[in-house]
């Protein structure tokens, strides 16, 4: 009797916590409907496998970082691949950047199990797609002509396309949110598509008719 009562109470509390967490994702200001929908569906379907996760909204050039329970941690503007497109060119991860053409500089869309790692410069980064050499890292302002810091600071998303495919994050945001959530262990990164249908990449997202 007591056991049953305890289990019921635990279920109610857990459910309430999930509702609160999901409500916080849904009501986050500055988050697109698509990003919010993917975040909610990732938790309710269990697709994030109880791991912290991030949603990369390419259309709006924004990153949203979530705890494993779906609670939004923070959001930030980001820089993305110069070219629009949702696929990586085969073998692009093996090519030096000097051999990557402008139209090949895409940030691939899809679900990626992220992992902490390092690049050849020894910098700690988060691998989004290790095979395609796509990572999430602190913004690099090494080439002044690219004006990466200015692009990040601007209010528009249209000028946030400059990288070779990597996701550039403000350094303070990376250290405060990305590294604690994804830089210590595996996580999930959902990169929303910009030229292909959402459900083509995320089957766990309910169809509009199901709402």
């Amino acid at each position: 009797m007591n056991k049953t009562f305890s289990r019921s109470c635990a279920a109610v509390v857990l459910s309430a916590c999930c509702q609160i967490a999901l409500a916080s994702t849904a009501s986050a200001p500055g988050m697109s409907v698509e990003a919010s929908g993917v975040a909610q569906a990732a938790v309710t379907s269990g697709d994030n496998q109880r791991m912290p996760f991030a949603v990369v909204d390419k259309k709006n050039a924004r990153l949203h970082v979530f705890a494993a329970d779906g609670a939004l941690q923070a959001s930030s503007p980001i820089l993305l691949g110069l070219a629009r497109g949702d696929r990586s060119v085969p073998g692009i991860g093996e090519r030096p950047m000097s051999q990557i053409k402008p139209h090949e500089r895409t940030t691939p869309a899809g679900r990626f199990v992220s992992e902490p790692g390092r690049n050849l410069g020894g910098e700690d980064i988060v691998w989004v797609d290790y095979g395609a050499a796509v990572s999430m890292h602190r913004v690099r302002a090494t080439n002044p002509a690219e004006k990466r810091l200015r692009r990040l600071a601007s209010p528009t998303a249209s000028d946030n396309r400059i990288s070779f495919g990597c996701i550039n994050v403000p350094a303070t945001f990376y250290d405060a949110y990305v590294k604690p959530a994804l830089g210590q262990n595996h996580g999930v990164v959902y990169v929303l598509p910009e030229t292909t249908p959402l459900r083509q990449h995320f089957a766990f997202v309910p169809t509009p008719a199901a709402h």
């Binding site: 950047m97 992992e115 050849l120 980064i125 691998w127 050499a133 796509v134 990572s135 690099r140």
Partner: protein
């Protein structure tokens, strides 16, 4: 009455203790490796002059480490795996 039984009890206790002592295996001075005398090996069974602790199978022709004398055995504990931190893949260039 007590005076009579006291020596008997003492003798019985002494006998029991003696039995208990007799049950233990006496230390042996025999070498586990007949080719070397007992005085020419370290406590860990390694040849004299070798420093450090033997590393198991990689010891080549070294004698297996002794677990000590008598019937006492030691249990080896395997180190606990580190908490689930993924093995980091080799560093590589990213797409900036």
């Amino acid at each position: 009455m007590i005076k009579r039984t006291a020596p008997l009890l003492a003798a019985l206790l002494l006998g029991t203790a003696g039995m208990a002592f007799a049950q233990g295996n006496p230390p042996t001075t025999a070498s586990p490796n007949p080719a070397t005398a007992a005085g020419q090996q370290t406590q860990q069974g390694t040849p004299m002059g070798t420093t450090g602790t033997p590393t198991g199978q990689s010891g080549g022709t070294m004698a297996a480490p002794s677990t000590g004398m008598g019937t006492t055995t030691t249990t080896t504990t395997t180190p606990m795996p580190a908490p689930a931190q993924p093995a980091m893949r080799p560093a590589r260039a990213d797409r900036n």
